[in-house]
């Protein structure tokens, strides 16, 4: 029973074909999203092609716009990776929002309290942020495990709790006493220990580089480690994983701890790189966590895909802001485009390309011969 077969490493052609196949659905969804967005723009009395053109230009068209987009993409990448890890391993968590808030809050407090060389303060503060997100995710995992509750619901509810904890803390416990604007609900500004900008004059900071490194690290973990293998098998078929001897409980805690750490790191980078303090609502109002989930859906949980889909989604938002300023097109168009994309991606939108053959005349039963009624 020996068959000679070309097995071994995957050929480049085969890989390219698979890659193109993977890109088909997100590409179609983006296209449909832009079409619907264009229709809305046209309905509100603007020229759709011009508007979408300036939108893309406003998102990616110049060094300034592009770096603004990359700044905005940074927390989305972290949230996307956190979501992808959890969902791809079969533990659907919506908790990135709460974990980012906790990560950002803890990091903001660590950074104003630690002293020493900036690199030292940055590292410690980032680690504290990771720890904050991790512990908050652990809480969700424990509640879900101990009381057999749906993780989806637990994480969703804990997001609200995290938001209120952060509001309370910033309002009553660690409110910035020195601020020029004393009414702002925010913590003290971090002086030393902020993440430097990559290019002077542009907002994009080293948090983006950390995000890029994290993408590669997660890619490595998922494809090249036993932990990643077990997590993926658990996500693809939990019974198969259990049969293979993979401890599903241990995997749940491992996956959710790592996912929480990623979200926490995302919140921490946003504090150290963009806001320099915790500002109430800084995670929830831009909707970083939700954009992250959309990004991971678009990329079908692939880390590199998430990197690009996050930048794309961030670009839509910056571009949406740009056309609102320059043309007066409502920036809600961005939300509409994002929603259409999300809908089409989650519906696993497939266009079946049918090969149409010329059909000959339809078959009619021969005269008098009602085959299926005949009795012997």
């Amino acid at each position: 029973m020996h068959h000679k077969q070309p097995l071994g490493n995957e050929s480049l052609r085969h890989w390219l074909r698979r890659f193109a196949g993977d890109l088909k659905q997100p590409a179609l969804a983006i296209f449909a999203g832009l079409v619907v967005g264009g229709m809305v723009i046209a309905l509100s009395g603007f020229h759709p092609l011009t508007a979408i053109g300036s939108m893309l230009k406003g998102g990616f068209g110049s060094a300034y716009y592009l770096t603004t987009t990359l700044t905005r993409a940074t927390p989305i990448i972290f949230a996307g990776l956190a979501a992808a890890l959890a969902w791809g391993s079969g533990y659907p968590s919506l908790g990135a929002s709460g974990q980012m808030i906790l990560g950002a809050l803890v990091c903001s407090q660590a950074a104003v309290r630690f002293t020493g060389p900036p690199l030292w303060v940055i590292t410690l503060s980032l680690l504290c942020g990771m720890l904050g997100g991790m512990l908050y995710s652990l809480l969700a995992a424990w509640i879900s495990d101990r009381f057999k509750l749906y993780l989806l619901i637990v994480t969703l509810m804990l997001n609200y709790i995290a938001d209120y904890i952060a509001s309370y803390t910033t309002t009553y416990l660690v409110k910035d006493p020195f601020g020029a604007d004393a009414s702002a609900i925010q913590t003290q500004r971090i002086e030393s220990g902020i993440l430097p900008r990559i290019f002077t004059g542009y907002t994009v900071h080293w948090g983006f580089v950390i995000a890029l490194i994290t993408v590669i690290a997660i890619l490595f973990i998922m494809k090249k480690t036993t932990f990643g293998y077990r997590a993926r098998m658990g996500g693809l078929n939990p019974r198969f994983a259990e049969y293979g001897g993979i401890n599903s409980r241990r995997m749940m805690y491992g996956v959710l701890l790592l996912s929480g750490a990623l979200a926490g790191l995302g919140g921490a980078c946003e504090v150290l790189g963009a806001r320099f303090r915790y500002v109430d609502g800084m995670i929830t109002s831009p909707g970083y966590a939700w954009s992250g989930i959309i990004a991971s859906l678009m990329a079908n949980n692939h880390p590199v895909g998430i990197f690009f889909s996050s930048i794309f989604l961030a670009g839509l938002t910056t571009g949406g802001g740009a056309i609102e300023r320059s043309m007066g097109v409502p920036s809600e168009v961005t939300t509409i485009i994002q929603s259409v994309i999300t809908l089409l991606i989650t519906a696993r939108f497939v266009v079946a390309v049918r090969k149409r053959h010329a059909s000959p005349a339809p078959y009619t039963p021969p005269e008098g011969g009602d085959l299926h009624e005949s009795q012997p």
Partner: protein, 507 residues
């Protein structure tokens, strides 16, 4: 000529599934199409049923050319298919399932009485007794298949395709099915039977087409061929008759004492199971499927918690241990359901070949996978067992059922553990692959390992097992030594014919 498929060709990428295949079907005829997995039978039927489009070739019904874009086109022309996996609504009644999509209504509502009468009439006309008011989930598998057949007859099909219809049936149900096919052909229906069980072909078919590697090897009247000739044509070589040496039995490897499981209401409970497996023997668990074999094996493999009992594996107490611990202690397991438990259909072949071994060298060190070793191992299994695959990185789901089973069996046998549990290891696979897996099981036994073989195929049990337990309604109700029992006695025990205390054959 009722149906002619002429010069049908179909390729999937580099794999040619059908190469200039032609078949003919006459009215009232039972045509069997036999061949190994991947021989192209299923592809040909998918084309006939409108699930796939041929690259070239034509289909003629009553000498008129037809094209089927989708199954509803084929159904409209009177072609029906009894699928391996039944397409039934489990919580609905038999009548509701049969008349689905062509139900009689009273205004907006179903006319239940009329529908039931229609089904009753249909069931009498074709001698297929059913209770139209019964709920499908309460019907045994054989009856569910009968409902599928009625569904197709209700759609006025005059050509009925049976795709591996006996794979899920008990021996008695198979006999009923063969009778049904015979009756249908006498009533003027034409039948295409896809199978690899040659004795069924000899029992019921008028003509037989043998396929291999996507081509038709022979087409002949059943009376002009023989089991030996067909199996030779299918495999392309002679199947050697198997001779087993007497077992060289050693120390106990697996000892189960007093295992009991109280399931949820309505599920099987296990009562006080005692069994033993020793080095150098193949021990069979015979029984009609659904008598607790699945539950017992899940308990032994650490996939199901049980209420009482002790399990010793290779000198280690593995009572209530986790699946991972039990694997480490020396158990490999070919599960009975290849997609629910045995594989992750959406994962690649390489990933599926790794499970259970990912944590140890040479496949990983300190948590880092060695992908070169992982892929080499998968390629080795695929080539060694003749799994028909195009790439290591294709999805498991893209393999045919038999090839998926081969890969799972290969993975578990290659682990070289002292104990192997093989559940229905050859269900739904062809003679060549079956012979190969049987050979591997015997080789494992001859090397001094123990094999626990669970099978509802009596012939498999009789051929391979040194010792046989019979399982009925959650109990082991008999134990026999090879050569001291015939199929008839085993069959009697399998149906619970013997209710007294278990005999023991171990000295």
């Amino acid at each position: 000529m009722l149906l002619r498929m002429h010069q049908i060709s179909k390729s999937y990428g580099p794999v040619t599934a059908n190469d200039q295949v032609s078949i003919e079907l006459h009215k009232g005829e039972i045509l069997a199409i036999v061949g190994e997995n991947g021989a192209g039978k299923s592809t040909l039927m998918k084309i006939l049923y409108g699930l796939e489009q041929p690259d070239s070739g034509t289909i003629c019904l009553n000498d008129r050319q037809v094209v089927f874009h989708r199954p509803s086109d084929a159904m409209a022309q009177g072609i029906g298919m009894v699928q391996q996996h039944f397409m039934l609504f489990g919580s609905m009644t038999v009548a509701e399932n049969v008349v689905y999509r062509k139900e009689t209504r009273k205004g907006l509502f179903m006319d239940h009485r009329r529908n039931q009468a229609l089904v009753r009439e249909l069931s009498q006309r074709y001698h297929l007794p059913v209770d139209p008011q019964a709920v499908v989930d309460d019907c045994p598998v054989g009856l569910q298949q009968r409902i599928e057949i009625l569904k197709i007859l209700y759609q006025d099909a005059h050509i009925i395709i049976f795709d591996e219809p006996s794979a899920v049936l008990t021996p008695l149900e198979v006999e009923d099915l063969l009778k049904t096919m015979d009756q249908l052909s006498r009533l003027g229906k034409s039948i295409i039977l896809i199978t690899h069980k040659l004795h069924e072909v000899m029992a019921v078919a008028h003509r037989v087409v043998v396929m291999r590697d996507g081509r038709v090897i022979s087409a002949s009247d059943t009376s002009e061929t023989s089991l030996e000739k067909m199996s030779y044509e299918m495999v392309g070589r002679q199947i050697p008759t198997r001779r087993m040496t007497p077992p060289a039995v050693g120390n106990p490897l697996l000892e189960v004492a007093g295992l009991s499981l109280k399931g949820e209401p309505g599920t099987i409970t296990l009562h006080d199971i005692h069994l033993q497996l020793r080095q150098g023997e193949i021990v069979g668990i015979a029984g009609v499927s659904g008598n607790g074999q699945s539950e017992l094996i899940r308990c032994l493999a650490g996939l199901q918690a049980y209420d009482a009992g002790q399990v010793m594996l290779n000198g280690t107490d593995v009572t209530r241990a986790s699946a991972g611990t039990i694997r480490e202690a020396g158990l490999a397991h070919i599960p009975e359901d290849r997609y629910a438990w045995g594989s992750a259909p959406a994962a690649t072949l390489a990933e599926n070949a790794l499970v259970g071994a990912e944590g140890r060298p040479p496949f990983s060190r300190r948590g880092i996978l060695n992908l070169r070793q992982v892929n080499a191992h998968a390629a080795h299994l695929i080539q060694g067992y003749g799994v028909k695959a195009a790439s290591l990185f294709q999805q498991m789901a893209s393999l045919s059922g038999g090839n998926a089973q081969k890969l799972i069996a290969a993975r578990e046998i290659a682990r070289k553990t002292p104990v192997l549990i093989a559940c229905e290891p050859t269900r739904g696979i062809d003679i060549g692959a079956m012979e190969y897996i049987h050979g591997q099981l015997i080789e494992k036994r001859d090397q001094g390992d123990g094999v626990l073989l669970v099978s509802s195929e009596l012939s498999e049990i009789m051929d391979l097992c040194d010792r046989i337990y019979v399982m009925f309604e959650g109990r082991l109700n008999g134990e026999f030594i090879r050569g001291e029992v015939d199929e008839k006695t085993l069959g009697l025990y399998m149906l619970g014919g013997n209710r007294h205390a278990p005999q023991t054959a171990l000295g």
